[in-house]
């Protein structure tokens, strides 16, 4: 079977709908139904819930922390205050990056050339990893917010050693993850373990696709 045979074989595939003339029935109502089903299909309740919870957390938490800064800074526990400030600031940055990415993805013109469009979408989609990286940076402050000045006066050396070790481990882990969560490490055990689950599939696939697009362009340029 030669190329021409294969081409005619491929082009001869038809849809039953064509023969039954159902295309003529495509009308505004059908399109509305498509839009609704598409909306329901893409709307992930858990994701939206998490996002709303994050916004609420940043809104309320931010207001509380700011109030303490402005009205009660002298009486406040500075460890709590600065830990909370860092945590809220990082969450706010992560949410902003995420929403900004969603807006950019939504605004991409799907009728542009395929490689350029896919490169844009895949780059944006895979940069969702930045959100995770930023959120991991919060790790150390979860080990410091409960510190207070009296701990320095009363606590013994042993407890401080344990506390110091925990904070150091969390800090090292946060920085290490921030540096190492990258596409090149996608096959490593720890990466697969962290990004295990259906929620991460699109991001991993986006990274894979981006890699393929780059290879595609490079191999043909060579």
């Amino acid at each position: 079977m030669n190329d021409q045979d294969l081409k005619s074989l491929w082009q001869s595939t038809q849809v039953k709908m064509d023969q039954h003339g159902q295309i003529a029935k495509e009308n505004q109502l059908a399109i509305r139904q498509l839009q609704i089903s598409h909306f329901l299909h893409t709307m992930k309740p858990l994701k939206i819930f998490t996002l709303l919870l994050g916004i609420l957390w940043v809104g309320i938490g931010g207001k509380v922390v700011l109030n303490i800064f402005i009205h009660a800074f002298d009486q406040a526990n500075l460890f709590f205050l600065f830990s909370a400030l860092i945590q809220i600031a990082l969450t706010a940055i992560a949410i902003s990056v995420y929403i900004y990415q969603l807006i950019l993805i939504y605004r991409i013109d799907i009728s542009e050339p395929v490689l350029a469009t896919q490169k844009k979408v895949a780059r944006l989609r895979s940069s969702t990893l930045w959100v995770t990286k930023i959120l991991f940076l919060q790790l150390p402050v979860w080990t410091t917010f409960y510190w207070n000045e009296s701990m320095f006066d009363t606590s013994n050396l042993f407890l401080w050693c344990i506390q110091g070790m925990i904070t150091t481990i969390f800090t090292v882990a946060a920085v290490w993850l921030f540096i190492n969560i990258r596409f090149v490490n996608r096959d490593k055990f720890w990466f697969r373990w962290i990004f295990n689950g259906n929620e991460w599939d699109p991001i991993l696939r986006a990274m894979e696709l981006l890699h393929q697009i780059n290879q595609y362009e490079e191999s043909t340029e060579a």
Partner: protein, 172 residues
């Protein structure tokens, strides 16, 4: 573009070019249900992109871009339900070839070959099988003609190898 004109353009487009959407869906989904979902998604994207269509562009080029971009998004977002199903199964959407069971078998082989390609090669393969010129393929994908030529030759030789392997010439 008012809603009536948009509806009319859409219906007209589907009347004449729905085969393009179907064949792109065929390349990206091995499962019938997935294919239907992808077809719906492509139709919706065509409908939504219609107001941005510029008359100077060839309609088929525009449609291939929308269809392939939607298929690649569909692949990336991992919306397929067929992960655990067999790669090939009875296809209720496609019209069977009454006259030649061999052609049906050949088509299955061709589909299988396309399914095994990576997502970008699939796009190229579809356009090649649709008999698009290298210039049109370059326009749709956004690569230079020389790049397309290299890639097409590579895929052609893979295809030739595959089909010789499946259907060895009895005279050889």
């Amino acid at each position: 573009m008012d809603i009536k004109t948009r509806n009319r353009h859409f219906q007209n487009l589907m009347q004449h070019h729905q085969g393009i959407l179907y064949r792109v869906a065929l390349a990206y989904c091995s499962d019938d249900e997935d294919r239907k979902d992808l077809m719906q998604e492509m139709k919706l994207q065509v409908w939504e992109a219609l107001p941005r269509y510029k008359e100077q562009a060839q309609i088929s080029t525009w449609l291939y871009r929308v269809a392939l971009n939607t298929a690649l998004n569909f692949y990336r977002e991992n919306k397929t339900k067929a992960k655990k199903k067999q790669l090939f199964q009875e296809d209720s959407l496609r019209v069977p070839f009454d006259d030649s069971p061999n052609r049906e078998a050949m088509l299955q082989q061709l589909e299988q070959f396309i399914q095994e390609l990576d997502p970008l090669d699939k796009a190229l393969m579809v356009l090649y099988l649709e008999d698009k010129s290298q210039k049109e393929i370059a326009d749709i994908l956004g690569l230079s003609i020389s790049n397309i030529s290299t890639k097409v030759n590579r895929i052609k030789s893979r295809m030739k190898k595959r089909f010789t392997q499946f259907n060895p010439d009895p005279h050889e």
